[in-house]
């Protein structure tokens, strides 16, 4: 494991991530223009979706694929539930619901990093894992919105009993679950991933041949730039966030290990391959910092973005990127041996 950790750290893209953290720490004015950073993230989604689609068109929807997707879905429902129960008393109930959604959902960049890790170590994985990732985006959001609705109702009742006036957050009224679902499904990042997956699936090897110089060859370089931006972002986010307490910080570091352990156990039980198991672990261990925070801002306005977004991007993301992935893979290697 030590060896593989070092090997992970020797990846240029990972090193650019550290460099970004360092640059932001010394308050450099280094900045990737926002338009570029957004485009790099779109590129990564297209590349990863397209690649998954092509792989899927070669393998087809086998039983292996369905099992993997099933395992992913199970975890996408489980994680928000136990996260909420665990945190309900340790922060506001609304924060807990938003954190539950965040960790139930996934980080595409963590998924990409795990794929890169496998590729470097010569381990295979299935194109259907990209489908699994797509399926993991929404359940968490739905559950969190429901949890928030329940909390809201309970508090209203409690206040009504106490004779207090029912008060909503100043200047905001939670939006309908229908709107939330529409936003979740039409979110640009989510849709682009699905679209690229489908296009990769339709065009198969012929598509791959013409797209590869763009989606495969320059991928590592683009990823390096994007991780540089992520490094800058992580450092700046951590500096600014004042809403984090030690419990939440600890949670953001321990949670991924716990979640990954469950995922690895499930993968083992289901007889998944080592590569697929690592990808599942990375998905389950990661927290969303795109779709879910964007939606929680409106859907659970009572929760503080400074909490769930900071935990997910400031702590869990770098943890998984640097330590988590090699750690999970070491565990998988031991278990599968």
């Amino acid at each position: 494991m030590d060896f593989s950790l070092v090997r992970n750290l020797m990846d240029p893209a990972i090193l650019f991530f550290f460099f970004g953290i360092l640059a932001a720490s010394v308050k450099s004015n280094l900045e990737i223009p926002p338009a570029i950073a957004k485009f790099l993230s779109l590129y990564l989604l297209v590349a990863i979706g397209f690649k998954g689609g092509v792989a899927l068109s070669a393998s087809g929807f086998t039983a292996t694929a369905l099992v993997a997707i099933g395992a992913a879905l199970i975890m996408a429902f489980l994680v928000p539930i136990y996260t909420f129960l665990l945190l309900r008393k340790r922060t506001s109930a609304f924060n807990a619901a938003a954190i539950a959604a965040t960790y139930g959902s996934v980080s595409a960049v963590t998924f990409i990093a795990a794929q890169q890790y496998l590729t470097k170590n010569g381990i295979d994985f299935g194109g259907y894992m990209t489908v699994a990732m797509v399926f993991m985006e929404s359940p968490a959001i739905i559950m969190a919105v429901l949890l928030a609705a329940i909390v809201r109702k309970q508090q209203a009742q409690a206040e009504a009993y106490a004779g207090a006036k029912i008060q909503s957050v100043p200047g905001s009224s939670p939006i309908s679950i229908k709107t939330v679902l529409h936003e979740a499904f039409t979110d640009g990042a989510h849709l682009l991933l699905i679209g690229s997956l489908v296009i990769g699936y339709i065009t198969g090897d012929a598509g791959k041949a013409v797209m590869a110089p763009f989606t495969v060859d320059i991928f590592k370089g683009v990823l390096a730039f994007f991780l540089l931006e992520m490094g800058l972002l992580v450092a700046r986010q951590l500096r600014q966030s004042k809403d984090l307490n030690p419990t939440l910080v600890a949670f953001a570091g321990i949670m991924p290990i716990f979640n990954a352990s469950l995922a690895i156990g499930l993968a083992y039980m289901f007889g998944m391959s080592k590569g697929d198991a690592l990808l599942l672990a990375a998905l389950v261990a990661s927290g969303s910092y795109i779709v879910v925070p964007a939606i929680c801002r409106y859907a659970i306005p009572e929760a503080k973005p400074g909490v769930y977004f900071s935990m997910s991007i400031g702590i869990t993301f770098p943890f998984n990127l640097v330590i988590g992935i090699p750690l999970y893979f070491a565990a998988i290697n031991m278990l599968w041996a």
Partner: protein, 95 residues
Amino acid sequence: MKSVKRVEFIIDEREVDNLLSSLAKVNITSYTVITGAYGNGDHGMRGADIFSDSLSYVLIACDEEEVKVIIEKVRPVLKSLGGICLVSDAMWVIH
């Protein structure tokens, strides 16, 4: 120069199209939009990182009566999704 009102509001980029269409229905069709703003308010930080939608700054020069119509359309958006709307006085250079 003639005296006009200067209405400016800051709302989620995603809402601008809808809002401007609804203003077009009541014949308010002249406006300027600056995209890519970020800010902080009751709903926390927005638009400052690449993962959150940007805010847009919208400027409309109009007369007194139109102000009321605009406010009517803008207020519900501010209420549910946040933002601000300011009205001030200005002189319009007639050309």
